[in-house]
Symmetry: C2
Subunit: 345 residues, 2 copies
């Protein structure tokens, strides 16, 4: 029995391995980090000793000395489940095989955000973060992150596009296209359901709709603009309110798919057939748009790809490479069964 004993948790350290292999701790470190200048014989001995002792490097110690936690955060405000999962899977796809881990940081609401991000900065020891809306548009968050030396990349920001690496689609053009498609089918009385007003996409998409109406020479009815917040429930409520109002319309432009599906339910309850009596249009091409009935005509926004690219931008910065500053991702009009020409009458 020597005076030195393994710590109670029984976890072997680099020193134990070194002792067992008859080398210094530094040499063990070299082997485990794949550094050059270790003779193959020594490396072999070290590996055997490590295996025998069931040694695994302590990430916490590594993190302390290297100042790298290998933790990447994903900050988002809970929209629909499928959007969140697309986002996460995209980031994870890029992190895979990279030694980085994903920490999810959903924030409940605008008001909570400030405190939430302070907490994020102070306590989470993140190396970098991917910011989804609306955090991606918050100048204060960007400033705090930069001040704390936390790398970031953004999904769908609309302001200060150059402030941090960005991944975008052209929301205005996309909204214009889909509205033009609807108007092109002959619709003239078109309702709109807006998303959360704190998300900049809400304004951009509305601007795109307006451009399409202007180009078609159709007046947009301001009293047919309902307010939602990107959820199924708010889409349902907004559509129900519009349908209960005095003004008739033959199509609804919802600013995302969840609200479009909510509107679908409201239409059914009002006894309307979709698309024969009422056309319903979404945005995002999220899973619900594909599994609803009828399936929703929408704009495909490559959330997964955007998340992959954002994660890549964060990693590039962490590795000292220059990240791409701004990637414009392609959107696409997806025509499905929820839209038809307006009823003859």
């Amino acid at each position: 029995m020597k005076g030195q004993v393994l710590a109670e948790p029984g976890r072997a350290t680099i020193i134990d391995v070194g002792r067992a292999a008859g080398v210094s701790a530094k040499t063990v470190s070299r082997v485990f980090n794949g550094e050059r200048y270790v003779s193959e014989g020594v490396a072999q001995r070290v590996r055997e000793a490590a295996a025998a002792l069931n040694y695994h490097p302590n990430m916490l110690a590594r993190a302390l000395v290297s100042r790298r936690s290998h933790l990447i955060g994903l900050v988002y405000e809970r929209p629909s489940p499928s959007y969140v999962v697309d986002l996460q899977e995209g980031v994870l796809a890029r992190l895979k095989d990279e030694r980085y881990r994903l920490v999810v940081i959903p924030v409940a609401s605008m008001s909570e955000r400030a405190a939430e991000v302070v907490g994020l900065l102070r306590s989470a020891a993140l190396d970098g973060v991917v910011l989804a809306p609306p955090a991606s548009d918050d100048p204060r968050i960007l400033a705090d992150l930069a001040a704390a030396g936390i790398r970031s990349a953004r999904i769908a920001p609309t302001r200060d596009i150059e402030a941090a690496p960005s991944n975008l689609i052209d929301d205005i053009s996309a909204a214009r296209e889909i509205a033009a498609y609807v108007l092109g089918l002959g619709h003239r009385d078109v309702a709109v359901i807006l998303g959360d007003p704190t998300h900049a996409a809400t304004d951009m998409r509305l601007a795109g709709y307006r451009q399409a109406f202007a180009a078609a020479g159709v007046e947009m009815a301001e009293d047919l603009i309902g307010q939602g917040a990107f959820s199924h429930e708010t889409g349902y409520a907004a559509a129900a309110a519009l349908l209960a109002g005095p003004r008739r319309f033959t199509a609804i432009l919802a600013q995302n798919d969840d609200m479009a599906v909510g509107a679908l339910l409201a239409a059914r309850e009002a006894g309307l057939r979709v698309p024969e009596d009422l056309s319903i249009i979404g945005f995002d091409d999220s899973e619900v748009s594909r599994i609803s009935w009828p399936r929703i005509t929408t704009i495909r926004q490559p959330v997964f790809d955007m998340a992959v690219a954002a994660a890549d931008m964060v990693i590039a910065q962490l590795e000292g490479r220059e990240p791409r500053r701004r990637v414009q991702h392609a959107h696409q009009l997806i025509i499905r069964e929820s839209v038809a020409p307006p009823p003859a009458g």
Copy 2:
């Protein structure tokens, strides 16, 4: 100029704060950890110095010395987005205000799992993990976790219920109830769409169906049992195959809601009305069951609550408290519009 200078990252340490406040590092540590035995005057000075230096504790250093990363993992195999999000939100709800962070660890498939979990053990420095199916049923994973000293709690395990803290519903009874309900309406030719065979819930739910059939004295048609894997697509495919087969049936028992919605699509494409011509039954009460049309009759499984409880069990262990070993959560039959008595003919 002293010889000692702040590190380039400019981040103040506990020593800098101590120097500025005229106290030792340990005293600063006491203040920041809310320990007793610090006079209010000193505490005040320390706080002011910390604020002036923009000091924030280094979590990595804390983690090293306390042997706590404050990271909790969530291991799951990607089922539907709404299930995943329910799970995450449940864990996060319990972690909120607890200084723990959630690291998501989706594993692609059974085969990947072993290596994935080895990686988890070795590299992620997790304090604890919540295991969703099918990881929650894997004895090897449980053994490895225990060996590594990582606390765990499980969602919906079916084997070795006492091996680690568990959260369950009574899948057999639940499946029996919903099948009994369908048989009670008069259905006799009932198809089944199974979930992923590697998930134990698949077997349990089938067993429950069988019990109901036996109790009703109805023979279960083995050639009406289709294989799915819990996804919308597999539900669609399995239902389409059954509908294309020779044998008629008036109801489909799908083992989750996603597959039920897939079956709904297949029924529509086959020109069948749901529920007039064909009843469709799901399981889980996930979001899709509420937003589909018709809405799906299903069994409510409180995934969110189970995740909250599982996170609580992990935290209890980390704090040295005795966790609850086994919580049986209540399920509930949710009757909606996708089921009707069999057509008269």
